[in-house]
Structure formats: C-alpha cells, structure tokens
C-alpha cells in the first residue's frame, strides 16, 4: 500500500521568482525551463528546452502529449505522481501548450486509478481545463509506453524510425517532466527531487542522494547465491560489499541498469529494484524472446553473440533498433538478464565502429603522405633532368 501524500515530500527551495505564465512571453517560459535544468524524466534525459525550441523552429506543433502510461513492469512512479499531483501535471501541460499556438493537449494514462485522478482534477478545477485537455486510458502492454507506439495508438500516426515525433507536429513529454515544468515556471523550483519506485514503494527522493540508503534489508543474501560466472558475462564478485552493489538496478527489475557503488539518484531514475541475475540458468534456445519482441528482432542471437565475444555485423541493425522495453527478459524461462547482454552488444559494436573509423582515417593519412612523397620525388627528377647551360 503506498500511502504517499504530498506532505511527506521535503519542501523544495525556490531559486527563481514565481511566474504568471498565462501572461508571460513564450521566450521567458522557455528560458525558465532551461535555467531550471529540466530534462526528460521518462528516462532519455533529453533537455526539455531543446525539444521545445526544435518544435518552435518547425513552427507547426499541433499536438502535445503527456505520457503517463509507464509500461515498465513493476514501476509505479508516474502513477503515484498522477494520483497526488494531477493538477500540477495538467498545469505543466498547459504551460507547454501556451508556448505554442493552441495545440491539442492530451494525457495518456495506463490504469483506471490514474484515469480517475485525472478526471477528478479536471472536474474540480472549475475552469475550462476539461474542455482543453483530453485524458485517454490505453491498455497497458510492455510496448505502449514507447512514444512511437503511443502516438500510433492515440493519433494513428506512423512515425518512422528515422524521424522524430516533432517531424509530425507532435511533442511528447513524460508526466514527471511536465510536473517539473509546472514547478519551475509557476513556483520557481529547480528540479530537486522526483518520485522513485524504491523496491515497489513510490517515494519522493532527492536527486543526487546515494542510491543505497533506500535499499531494503538484504542480509539474507549470501555469496553462495551468486553463480560463479553468470550467463550475461558479468563477473559477480564474492565479497560482501560487492554483493550489495551488484544487487541494485536503477529502473525496473527486468529493464534496469546495474548500479555502481557510489551512484546517485538522477533525474532519469524512475525506480530502484533488486537484481535477479543470480537466478539465471543457461539459455535453452526456446526462442520465446524472439516471439515477444515488439520490433521482431533476433533477440536470441543478440544474446548468444554477445556471450561469444563479438556480435556479428549482421546483427548491428537489430541492436540499434532495440529500445529496451524488457519484454524479452520478462518472458525468458531461464531468467537471463537479456537486456544487459544487448546493451553490452551495442557498446561493443560502437567500439568496433570507432576502431574501424580510426583505421580508415589512418589509412587516408597514409595515402596522402604517399601522394605527397611521390609528387616531391617527381619534382626532384624533373629538376635534375633540366639541362644546364654551363
């Protein structure tokens, strides 16, 4: 039961003056967003003011979508935020809408509880909020939180993988980002804290605090539970202090990244979960991961190639297209942390690319040097052959 109320949140400190955004210039609002350092809190961390500026440059933003779907399994930070601060999220959305020329504002939610919270705030507001903002409930699958899938579901617009929503006159923001926008513009708060699902419980967490102070008591786990070298290639250390380190992931338990010793909570950290990679057994080649992948990638081969050192270049497109939804990890009967392997594969491929690019540059330099030397020796020969009058 998460009985988080707004009062359990430490009161943020205002660094700027409150702004009356309804009567302020667009440029002032965007500058305030930039000054408060707001980034995409859905996980990508893209600077919000840049996204808005790109939209302003195009000049034709018709839709602004608030993404509150949160399809990461086991994470309920956005839902808890909607439950307690729906009003502020709506205001944040209206603020962004005010920057552009009356775009259509929509909020997408993934649960009935969130829908009720949104509808309640719309009706209690009394103003024309309910006519301006449309709230939609989408069926929560592992894929619907990804912005292109959500845009397709809500607006029936296909955004190809080499384009962005802004190219189709749509801007998508996470609800936590919009909440931060509201507090920054209306109240003058910089982004100081965020809602994080700590091992199942949504809590207000200060950005910059150490991750491990929120971990539950994990005394019961001993180094015997760790395998002597688990399948994703990580080496699980057997000392006590490293046990704790390898046991927390930022993000959902299926999709998260392993946290290092002194890691701090960042604006993009939406959950903390216990690592389960010690439960993994070898891959049995069942192929269920392939069946469940939204983009029909060859997940099994991506995993196996990483385990055997270097991914083949045939799979390069597969690694790039993976947006790390975690459906494959949820489906794997051997409980293999497949996403770790895919991320490793992406890194290795980009390293290989970098090495090849460096080799190419070095080859080009060699060529230029040879040409120059050749030209010089030709010159010299010509000079030597010139007949002299003496």
């Amino acid at each position: 039961m998460s009985a988080i109320s707004a009062s359990t949140r430490k009161q943020p400190v205002a660094e700027f003056e409150p702004m009356d955004w309804r009567n302020a210039a667009s440029a002032d609002i965007v500058e305030r967003i930039q000054q408060c350092g707001i980034v995409g809190m859905g996980g990508a961390g893209f600077p919000t003011y840049q996204k808005i500026k790109i939209g302003l440059q195009r000049g034709t933003v018709k839709y602004v979508l608030a993404n509150g779907v949160e399809s990461d399994p086991g994470v309920s930070s956005d839902e808890a935020l909607i439950e307690h601060h729906a009003q502020d999220i709506v205001e944040g959305l209206q603020i962004v809408g005010a920057i552009f020329e009356s775009p259509k504002l929509t909020v997408a939610v993934g649960s009935r509880k969130a829908l009720d919270s949104m509808n309640q705030c719309a009706s209690s507001d009394g103003t024309s909020t309910s006519t301006q903002i449309q709230t939609l409930l989408v069926e929560k699958t592992a894929f619907i939180g990804e912005e292109r899938n959500l845009i397709k579901a809500i607006y029936n617009i296909d955004v190809p993988l080499d384009q962005y929503p802004v190219d189709h006159d749509i801007l998508v923001f996470n609800v936590a980002t919009l909440f931060a926008v509201c507090e920054a513009v209306r109240d003058g708060f910089k982004v100081q804290d965020r809602m994080v699902t700590c091992f199942g419980e949504p809590k207000w967490v200060e950005i910059g605090s150490n991750l491990f102070q929120f971990s539950p008591n994990i005394e019961g786990s001993s180094s015997q539970d760790l395998p002597s070298g688990d399948s994703s290639g990580n080496n699980a250390s057997s000392t006590k202090s490293n046990d704790r380190v390898s046991q927390i992931r930022t993000g959902g338990s299926k999709t998260g990244l392993l946290a290092s010793q002194n890691q701090q909570v960042q604006a993009t950290t939406n959950a903390l979960s216990l690592d389960e990679s010690h439960l993994a057994i070898p891959c049995i080649h069942c192929g269920w991961c392939n069946d469940v992948c939204d983009r029909k990638l060859d997940v099994e081969n991506m995993l196996l190639h990483v385990q055997q050192i270097t991914p083949s270049s045939k799979l390069a497109a597969h690694y790039e297209l993976c947006y790390e939804c975690g459906a494959c990890v949820a489906e794997c009967p051997s409980k293999i942390p497949i996403l770790d392997a895919i991320r490793e594969g992406k890194t290795r491929l980009s390293e290989t690319e970098q090495k090849q690019a460096a080799l190419k540059r070095s080859d080009k330099r060699q060529e230029r040097l040879l040409i120059k030397q050749q030209a010089e020796s030709n010159e010299r020969d010509k000079r030597m052959q010139k007949t002299r009058s003496w």
Binding site: V138, I144, E300
Partner: protein, 288 residues
C-alpha cells in the same frame, strides 16, 4: 520441464499396462543412472533442479523396447548425458539431442538386444513390415502384431503420447506447428509410397502415425528447444525434414524404426537454420 514430465505420464502408464514391470524397471534404471551421471558431471546438486536429465532418461526409457536388458538403458543414458550433453557444453549448448544420441548408440552397439520384441505378440508391426519379404499389406496385416488402426499396443501408446503432446501445446510449452509438420512430412512420404497396399508399400499414413515411436518423437523429441531451430521457418523445415527422413528410413533402411537417425541428421542443420536475418522486419508501431 515439469510439464513435460507430466505429459509423459499417460505414455508411461499405458506402457506399464501393456508391458508390465519391464517398463518400470527400465524407467527406474534410466532415471537413477541419469541423476548420478548428471551429478558426477556438474558436481552441483542445484543444477539438477531443471529436470532436463530426468526428461532425457524418461525419453530413452520410453524409446527402448520394454524388455531391453537394464544395462543397455544405463549405457544409453550415460552416453546421452555425459557425452552428448555435458561434453558439448552442458544445458543449452548441446548440438545433438542427448536422448537420441544415447538411443542411436545402443541401437548400433547392441542390435540384437534392442529389438522390438515381446513375449506375447512376438515382433511388433514395424518389424514385421520390414522383414516380410513379398507379402502385400492385406496379407501381412492379419498378423496379431497389427492393431485396429496402427500397430497393436503401440497404437494405444501413440495415442497416449498424442494426448500428452496436446496437453503441452495447450499449456504453450511447445508450439503446435512442429509436431504437425513432422506428422505431415511422414504422411506425405507414406502416402506417396503407399500404392494401395502392394508388397512394396509400407503402410498408410495413419498406420505409420500410430506405429513405433512416431508420436513420442513428434511431441517430445522434435520440439526439444535446445536442438531445434528457433525461428518459425527454420523450425518448420526441420520438423518436416525429420518426418520425411524418418518415413524413408522406415521403408528403405535396415532399422524398423529409424527416427533417431532422422533427428540426429537434422540436428546438424539447426545452427544453419538459426542464422540471423540481416534486416529485422518493420516494427509494429501499435500494440494495443
């Protein structure tokens, strides 16, 4: 793996019904040997909990005829687990189906002991078909080795495995197209070869489906996740080829029932069929 064990129970029960304690003895010997071998190879008790050794042992015990001497079962299991599975890298890394390797090894090593023979009906129907000389189907099927629609006793065994297989498909443990394609492959070849029951024919498709180890292979061996291709087209090719070759094996080889060799041959092709495609298909942009 547990579901697979449960799905094999009807087959075991039917086998005990028809063949008495012979089956149980074989099952017990094989299981015990399997557990000891697996423990010896992995040195960790925890690794037994995936039940894969148990399944291998049961498959071998059910492939071997019920009154095969106990040491034959033991040899088959040791070869299957120690060599075909662990020497190749353990769970998930074996190229060949361990049960089939063990079974094929004893088929070749002890040909006179692994004969489909029991004291009551004599040789089974497939044996009779293989060694019948010039009799037509009509003439040879008067023999008590032939049952109502398949081989006697084996038709019920195959039915039991079929039920177990359907149970697994309903539970989505195995997929439906692999067993189906294997059976279709067999049926295709059987029908092509079956010219109305002459002395050259090897029985109709239906007969071949319910004789020998067809259903056991189709639902429990062909669908083994480790040794079968994972992508759909590869899996369908694999299963159909096994069906075709197994049927050809029945007619043209010296073994009355040679599905083990068909499976092993196709295992060689699995890595080829598993090659990644270079461009993934278009992403589906809406999922709900």
């Amino acid at each position: 793996m547990l579901h697979v064990l449960v799905a094999l129970l009807p087959g075991i029960a039917t086998s005990v019904l028809f063949y008495g304690y012979g089956t149980l003895l074989l099952v017990a010997t094989c299981t015990l040997t399997a557990l000891i071998t697996e423990l010896a190879c992995t040195r960790k008790l925890k690794d037994l909990q995936d039940n894969s050794a148990l399944v291998t042992a049961l498959l071998i015990a059910l492939c071997l005829p019920a009154y095969t001497p106990w040491f034959v079962g033991m040899v088959a299991v040791v070869i299957a687990i120690a060599i075909a599975k662990h020497a190749f890298g353990g769970l998930g890394n074996n190229l060949f189906n361990p049960a089939m390797v063990g079974y094929a090894a004893v088929l070749v090593a002890f040909p006179t002991l692994v004969v489909e023979f029991d004291a009551i009906t004599g040789a089974t129907a497939l044996e009779k078909l293989a060694h019948r000389g010039n009799l037509t189907i009509a003439e040879v099927s008067g023999d008590p080795a032939f049952g109502i629609w398949g081989a006697s006793k084996h038709e019920w065994l195959n039915l039991a495995y079929l039920l177990g297989g359907i149970y697994l498909i309903v539970l989505r443990v195995i997929n439906w197209y692999m067993p189906l394609m294997m059976l279709i492959g067999m049926a295709l070849v059987a029908t092509l070869l079956d010219d109305g029951g002459s002395s050259g024919s090897h029985g109709s498709a239906l007969f071949n489906w319910f004789a020998g180890g067809t259903m056991l292979t189709a639902f429990f061996i062909v669908t083994d996740p480790v040794t079968a291709p994972t992508r759909r087209l590869g899996a369908i090719t694999y299963a159909t080829a096994i069906g075709v070759i197994a049927m050809l094996n029945r007619k043209y080889s010296t073994w009355p029932d040679g599905f083990a060799f068909a499976v092993l041959l196709l295992n060689c092709f699995t890595p080829l069929l598993n090659q990644p495609r270079s461009i993934p298909s278009e992403s589906r942009s809406s999922r709900s």
